[in-house]
């Protein structure tokens, strides 16, 4: 284990660290008589502890949410970085992990059930990245975790490793009591056992529609769990399951609220049965529970409060998609380059063609955005105390998975005939990328989430203004004065007065203007969409998708500009190309944003939306594709 500051063993230190250990758990389910006695045995390990010296900065207001109100937090334009020492250790350790995963006995492993595989990982402390060091975890910061996850994704089981780390282990690390952590988390970190995260029901759409239920027995010692969980990744080889179940339904007049609790269930207890769902590479299982007895100590976090756990964990999990997709994209680009260079022997030389170079540049541009946005978001979590990144992490998920999919498509097209064979690398990567589009959450639902989260925040602040805007006849002077003040927005020519170029390298001045334009249009777009639909905006999915696209583009532009500016200022190798990539990305993003916002109020576009809606309506009525065959005759 690396140490930033080797500390010698002292009495007060032990007390402090033990106190810290206790403070990480939410509550201790079982009271121990002498909590310190058992801990004392671990004390050799304490001598090896590293102490994090870096302090977190105070929380900033949420970035993307404020963008909707036209407030641009220029602090975010400072791209986050690690301390020198941290960076060195991180490079060394991820390097170790990389070499380990490349070794022959690791490469060929194709199941998480392989104990040796997990233990080898555990030996270099690569499971339990954020777990307490008392449990042999690493206590990494979010940015370091991202780097580890990127390395994971190199392996065929990368997806499974990330699921295990980011969903299951993290749930226990963040929310389980100390006793639970010791009993269940420690063996997992040691590689002896495996966890699985069971959230999805058979017909799962929202948390509140969950059908898996648990009831407390009369003596209050056990919970009885009933239900079925689908698509449990790692469910085949897992030993312990983290199960979310409905524990209380309170029926109000207006709505019924369900409370959800997370349980830790051992897979071999009576009542748990499972079967492998074939056809997925991810060892997905269906697990059913019939009157499973769970002792009350096995509750993770607080009773009835697990929806917060799910939200928190899933939000982090979305972020991890960024790391995985970046790696996949990078590998695909490198592989494609190899293929192209190999094929470039004859004249005319393939790699010199405009088509190839344009493709490579486009892929690099997209990958650059994906990387930047991932590390910027991780950095926000890392640098600022308790920073709200719910929207940002969802944006990372959408953008990076779409980038990876786009790159996979380009690869298939460029490779051509050989991509017709299943075992070709381009097909394999394409399949892996599909996981990020389908498993768990779709980008479509994420986009709705992004847009609505933003509007929820903006709606509260803009409420009074929107009321006036929606009732112009009651607010005559306001309406008239707005015609004047709003004229530049209507003509798609907003005042660019955010002066973002003050915070960036001068070479990025033009690109910073693009970002300013987009930020201004986003502010206007938010007002437009709320004025147009009012509270009904929740159901206006088409416009919401557009708003989400604009939000994604604005955030991505911020990330690439911040990164390119930093790289060029500190003189990283190839940083001039970073400037080019960033400027180009901003240019394309500006065009997309312009188009998306204009579509809110262009009459032709409103009509085309309506037309598509009507066609869809008729098709649901007749339950099929209604159009007659092209060769049909009427007489």
């Amino acid at each position: 284990m690396y140490s930033l500051r080797r500390v010698t063993f002292k009495n007060d230190l032990i007390k402090n660290t033990l106190l810290r250990l206790h403070s990480t758990s939410i509550e201790t389910a079982s009271k121990q008589t002498g909590p310190y006695d058992s801990e004392l045995k671990q004390y050799e390990r304490l001598t090896n502890l590293t102490k994090r010296t870096r302090q977190k900065k105070p929380q900033r207001p949420p970035f993307v949410k404020n963008l909707l109100l036209g407030k641009f937090d220029t602090e975010i334009l400072v791209f986050p970085q690690l301390e020198n020492e941290e960076c060195d250790y991180l490079t060394r350790d991820t390097g170790n992990l990389k070499t380990l995963l490349k070794q022959k006995h690791m490469v060929n492993v194709n199941s998480m059930g392989d104990k040796n595989f997990r233990q080898s990982l555990s030996d270099i402390q690569s499971i339990g990245l954020q777990a307490s060091q008392f449990l042999d975890g690493r206590e990494s910061t979010p940015m370091e975790v991202m780097k580890f996850l990127e390395t994971y994704a190199d392996h065929d089981l990368g997806n499974n490793l990330i699921y295990n780390e980011q969903l299951s282990v993290q749930t226990l690390v963040k929310y389980a009591s100390e006793a639970l952590q010791k009993k269940y988390l420690f063996p997992v970190i040691k590689g002896e056992k495996l966890l699985a995260f069971c959230l999805n029901d058979k017909e799962f759409s929202t948390l509140s529609s969950m059908k898996t239920k648990a009831e407390l027995t009369e003596d209050g010692k056990y919970w009885i769990l009933n239900g079925e969980k689908m698509y449990v990744v790692n469910g085949v080889s897992a030993d312990y399951l983290i199960v979310f179940a409905v524990t209380n339904i309170s029926n109000n007049e207006e709505s019924s609220d369900v409370s959800i609790t997370a349980f830790l269930v051992e897979k071999d207890v009576q009542g748990v049965s499972w079967r492998k769902i074939d056809g997925s590479r991810n060892e997905v299982a269906q697990i059913s529970f019939q009157n499973v007895q769970i002792p009350v100590e096995n509750i993770i976090g607080q009773v009835h409060k697990a929806d917060h756990i799910a939200k928190d964990i899933i939000s982090d999990f979305r972020l991890s998609c960024g790391a995985a997709c970046s790696t996949l994209s990078r590998n695909m680009i490198n592989n494609l380059l190899q293929t192209i260079l190999k094929e470039s022997v004859e004249d005319p030389v393939l790699y010199k063609s405009e088509s190839v170079r344009n493709k490579l540049g486009k892929m690099a541009m997209n990958l650059y955005a994906a990387e930047s946005i991932t590390y910027l978001t991780a950095g926000l979590q890392d640098w600022y105390d308790n920073q709200d990144v719910t929207i940002e992490s969802a944006i990372v998920k959408v953008l990076t998975s779409e980038v990876a999919y786009e790159i996979a498509k380009i690869c298939l097209e460029s490779v051509g005939i050989s991509a017709n064979f299943k075992d070709h690398w381009s097909r394999k990567y394409h399949d892996r990328v599909l996981d990020y589009l389908t498993l768990y959450e779709t980008n479509e639902s994420q986009k709705l989430f992004i847009a609505l989260m933003g509007l929820q925040y903006a709606g509260v602040k803009l409420s009074e203004k929107i009321k006036k805007l929606r009732n112009p006849l009651f607010h005559g002077t306001f309406a008239l004065s707005r015609i004047w003040t709003n004229r530049k927005n209507v003509f798609d020519n907003p005042d660019l007065n955010l002066n973002l170029s003050y915070f960036l390298h001068p070479s990025l001045q033009q690109a910073s203007l693009h970002l300013e334009y987009c930020a201004k249009r986003l502010e206007y777009g938010t007002e437009m969409i709320l004025t147009k639909h009012g509270l009904e905006v929740m159901n206006k999915h088409v416009d919401l998708y557009r708003l989400a696209d604009v939000m994604i583009d604005c955030y991505a532009m911020t990330a690439v500009l911040a990164r390119a500016s930093r790289s060029h200022c500190i003189g990283l190798r190839n940083s001039p190309f970073e400037l080019l990539l960033a400027s180009n990305f901003c240019y394309f993003a500006r065009m997309r944003v312009k188009n998306n916002i204009l579509r809110y109020y262009y009459v032709e576009d409103l009509n085309s939306d309506k037309n598509l809606y009507d066609i869809g309506k008729q098709m649901t009525k007749s339950r099929e594709y209604i159009i007659q065959e092209a060769l049909m005759r009427n007489f």
């Binding site: 948390l207 639902s445 709705l448 509007l455 007489f635």
Partner: protein, 351 residues
Amino acid sequence: MFMPWNKNKDDEKAISVKDHFETVKNKNKKTYLEMINIYINRDHIYRRGHVEFIYSALKHMEEFGVQKDLEVYKSLIDVLPKGKFVPQNLIQAEFMHYPKQQQCIVDLLEQMEDNGVMPDLDMEDQLLAIFGSRGFPLRKYWRMMYWMPKFKNMSPFPLPNPLPDDIFELAKLAIERISNIDVSNEVTIYQSVDIKDSIEDTWIISAQSETQRRLLSENKQEDPIFVEGAFKVWLKGNPINYFILRGQPRTYTDEYEDFDNVENIKPLFISNKPSVKSLYKAVPTVHEQQDGVIYAVCATGTSSKDSLLSWIRHLEIDRNPMLGKLSVVFTLRSGVKEVAKVEEQEQIDEK
């Protein structure tokens, strides 16, 4: 079109031909075409009285069941000579050459239109050969060919063409059409003999959706529900009787959230489907109408009270346990009404 010569078609001065169509015993398409053939062969050269023949043939079409048959109309037109009626100069063309013959064919086309028979392209050639390109029948034909294809597929409730003869198939189409209002509706076919005490053996076509099942289970125990009918639904001239299972109407308040207040936008953190949230406090389903809640629709082979009773029993077995606890009142409009009233009295007394 005002035509003075058309004013009294059945004028006594007109040549009255003996109506051979009435004397035919076996009235079907074959004999009808035979009649036309006999007429053509009888007077091969002059073919006297062909206008009168066509009029009388048109009159008897329905008896022979050929009023929707394009082939028959074409062979009727074929009775007229080719080339004889084509105008040879401007005056003839302008002043309706052979008016009676032209009017006769216009009437024939009119009858086709009334019966929804669309002419085909062969007919154009026929009319062109008989009356020339300036004849009124051809102009009528062109107008028909402009409008009829447009109207042919206008119905929002398309039916198979030709319509099945079987009453069971027809009833199934009718029930499918009625229940289509809720896309999640399922049409089930029960047999009344499957119920132990039933007297009759007939089919029951029943339609009920998941929503209707839920609504039925929410019906209060003290409120009776009604089997009502028979109502009629028409399928291209075929009336089909159907019955409904109806409950008391429910009241709804028209309360809704303030559309202008955007403080209450609620995103769903995890949602696999695009969420839809209604701003009205309560939105009635399509089954909850002002005069009652419709729980199910059916048509039976006999439309009798016994078959309806079997229907209710079947519904009870088929995921509607609530039906056993409710009093079901039969208010039928047909002759069995009296019986239903006695039953109604008994059932209310039981409660």
